[in-house]
Structure formats: structure tokens, C-alpha cells
Symmetry: C2
Subunit: 211 residues, 2 copies
DNA sequence: GAGAATTTTCAACACCGTGTCGATTCCGTG
DNA sequence: CACGGAATCGACACGGTGTTGAAAATTCTC
């Protein structure tokens, strides 16, 4: 059961569908999605504009398919840390490093897919499923730690959502303004920030009374 | 020196410009910006479509003006906390509460203006200025605390950026999926999350060694 | 490997929103 | 009241979208 929409046979024309997806991924690296015309996409895959509609209902539908394909990769990045226990700072950092690399490569359309407010129903559907899933996995890890008697800093579901969003928005901003960031510093800071966000102790108010 | 673009006199037709802005704010509450047609905007302000172009060069230009107008309000929300010292949890929470209220009212176009990856050059310009300014103020507060000898959790500029982004993305998501959030819980958690992010101690690894 | 069935391709068309131009009307000022 | 700039609008050209129907290519069946 393919996730998006099942056109019929396992025939040969499906190569074209994949060609279209590959071409799109390449084209989306250079231009924002709204600037890319369907004519361009079709051309890059070697077919006429009207031929595009045989494979996808719209640009958004194609993007949704693209997002769906990348699902597996994204899951894998965080799998190690999500499966581990305790802080496991190193595993977390490794996962974030992989994520940053992915964003450096495909940031343009990842941004459009994941943080655009209203990316059309098709994309919205897939991406909501994806982030819900991500948050839920994160949340489960937190709950696991909480059950093991470790201090956790708030309602797991909410904290998880914030952590996941913090990660996306940080990567997105790092993609958008690369000059403002030093990569290693960014990864270190983000790793610690997430750990502090999830497991950190509240800062001691006493330390902050006036000098 | 008006920020956006100075058309001439303080004449009477400027009322129309404001009417256009007000109408736009109302219309943008119901539909996403790309769904709103210029014809609709003009109609809502009582002029013909082509008349719109006398006042603004495009939909994006109008949105930029809208953002620019809201600048002052947003600044005020956080002013109290930004001016204070130490944790001042209550002031922070008050600021966030005001922010959430603003997002509840104008979330639709705030989202489009502030978190859309590529909102056209006009909007991009104004909004980048705004978030840079916000981050910088935040950063200054952190540096001030650091100078006063308080523990701070990382490079002030980076931490500030993360905190500011965490706030936006949380409000944006709360607007997009209101049913998933309890408002009070959200505000409490966000307040603590920011404080932990900025001033929190790293979680003690010892506490996390296996049971 | 020929013919039928079906998949794939594409040119032509209708549609919609944008932005521009120039003619026309409005309105305050000398 | 007449002059000049401000404001308004209809008509046009343009570009991207999505649809349709017929032709070409591919696959299937015997």
C-alpha cells in the first residue's frame, strides 16, 4: 500500500515518475517552489508540460510525494538516540549532525515543506503525519526516562513538541543564514539546549537575587 | 522617514491606504495570503482592483507595510522583561501571555509573514530586521546577566536566537493546532523552557547512569 | 510477432490572477 | 473658476494552470 496515491500497474512508465521526482529535487535546490514552473519540472524530466499531469495532480502533490520518500531517512537519523536511555549526549549529537547535513543538502524544499504555514492540503497532510510521529517518538523517550525516576522538566508531549520544533527551526535558520552560524558551535549548543530543555533543572532563583 | 516607501503628501487619500491595510488585516484572518486575490482586497476597501496598485506595488508590499505597523506592539510586549534583571519569571510570563494573545488574533498573517521561508523581498526585508532586532535585545539581556556573574548556558547570540525562534514557532503551532494545547499549560511550560534554555544548569549525567 | 488493449504523450484550449497604461474624474488652491 | 496634481477605473497583454481528446508508444495475449 503505497502511501500517497496508487496509480495502477508496476509498469515501466513509473521510471518517469521517479525521474520527475529526481528532477524536482534537483530543481528545488536552486529556486523556491513557487518560482518553479510546472513547465520547468516537466522539461527537466524530459516530457511536455501537459504530460506532468499524468503523474501528479499538481506541484504540491509532487512535493508531498517527495516528502513521503524522505521519511525513512529522517527517521533513521534520530533512531539511535531515541532508542537509548539516559542523556546519551553523543548519540544525540550524532543524530543532529546527520540532520544538519540533510538540511544543508535539501534545505530549500525541506523548509518549504515543513515550515511553510499553508503548503496546500497534500503536503500538509504528509508533513503533519511526519511531525506528529516524530514528536510522539520523542515523547515516548521522555516518558520512559520519567518512569525510570529521572527528573523531567514538564509535560512530556509538550516538551517533546518544543524540542522537535526547536530542532527544525534551528536547522531551517542555519540553512537560510549560513553566514551567521559556526557549524560546530551550533551543533554543540543545540545538543545542550535540547538536553537542558528536556532534562535540565530549573535555574536556582537564589543565584539571581541582586548582587 | 516612513519605513517602507514614501509616497508623498499627508493628504486625504492616505485614509484609503489605511482602509486598505485594515481591510487586509480583516481578510487575512480568514484566508491564507496566497488564496486572497487583489481584487478581493481592493473590493473590501471599496476601490477597483487596478486602484490597488496606486497604493501598493503588490500583495507582498502591503503585507510588509502591515508587518511594519505591528512592530511597535510586538516590541512593547517583551519590553518589561527585557529591561529587568535576573530571572523575573513573572515578567517573562506576562510578556509571553501578551504575545500569545496577539497570535490568537492575527496568527494567520503573522505566520505567513514571520515563518514562511520565502515571502518575497519586501516582507523578507522588514521581518529580518524585526527578528534581528528582537534577537539582539534578547542577547543583550543575557550578556548583561553574564557580566553580573550569573551562569549562562552558551554563546549569548545563539541562545537568544534559539529562544526567540522557540517562542515564534510555539505560538505559530499553537495557532495552527489550538486543540492540541491548553493555554495555561503552554504558557507555563514555555516560560520555564526559555528560562531553562537560557539560564538552566546542564542536567547531571550522574543522575542518569543506569538504575 | 500481429493485433487488441492500455498506457503514455502532447498540442490546443479555456481560465484566472497579475500588473500596466492611458483616459477620466475628483478636489483643493491660487 | 480654471489649473494641476491626486485618485479612480476600464481595457489590455501576459504568464502559469489545469483539462481534453486524439495520436503514439508500450505491453499483453494468443
Amino acid at each position: 500500500m503505497p502511501a500517497i496515491k496508487s496509480r495502477r500497474a508496476p509498469t515501466k512508465g513509473d521510471q518517469r515518475e521517479q525521474a520527475l521526482l529526481d528532477a524536482a529535487r534537483a530543481v528545488f535546490r536552486d529556486k523556491s517552489i513557487s518560482q518553479v514552473t510546472i513547465d520547468e519540472l516537466a522539461g527537466a524530466a524530459g516530457i511536455a508540460r501537459s504530460g506532468f499531469y499524468f503523474y501528479f495532480e499538481s506541484k504540491q502533490a509532487l512535493l508531498a510525494a517527495l516528502v513521503d520518500q524522505r521519511l525513512a531517512e529522517a527517521d533513521l537519523e534520530m533512531a539511535e538516540w531515541l532508542a537509548s536511555d539516559g542523556l546519551d549526549r553523543d548519540a544525540l549529537r550524532r543524530g543532529l549532525t546527520a540532520g544538519l547535513a540533510r538540511w544543508k543538502a535539501d534545505g530549500r524544499w525541506l523548509r518549504e515543506a515543513f515550515i511553510t504555514p499553508d503548503p496546500g492540503p497534500e503536503v500538509k497532510h504528509v508533513r503533519d503525519r511526519l511531525v506528529d510521529e516524530g514528536c510522539s517518538l520523542f515523547s515516548k523517550r521522555i516518558e520512559r526516562d520519567a518512569r525510570a525516576g529521572r527528573t523531567v522538566a514538564g509535560p512530556p508531549a509538550l516538551i517533546a513538541k518544543m524540542a522537535v520544533h526547536l530542532r527544525s527551526i534551528t536547522f531551517a535558520d542555519a540553512y537560510a543564514h549560513p553566514s551567521q552560524y559556526d557549524e560546530d558551535e551550533l551543533l554543540d549548543t543545540l545538543t545542550d539546549a535540547i538536553l537542558r530543555l528536556v532534562y535540565g533543572d530549573a535555574p536556582d532563583p537564589a543565584r539571581f537575587t541582586s548582587p
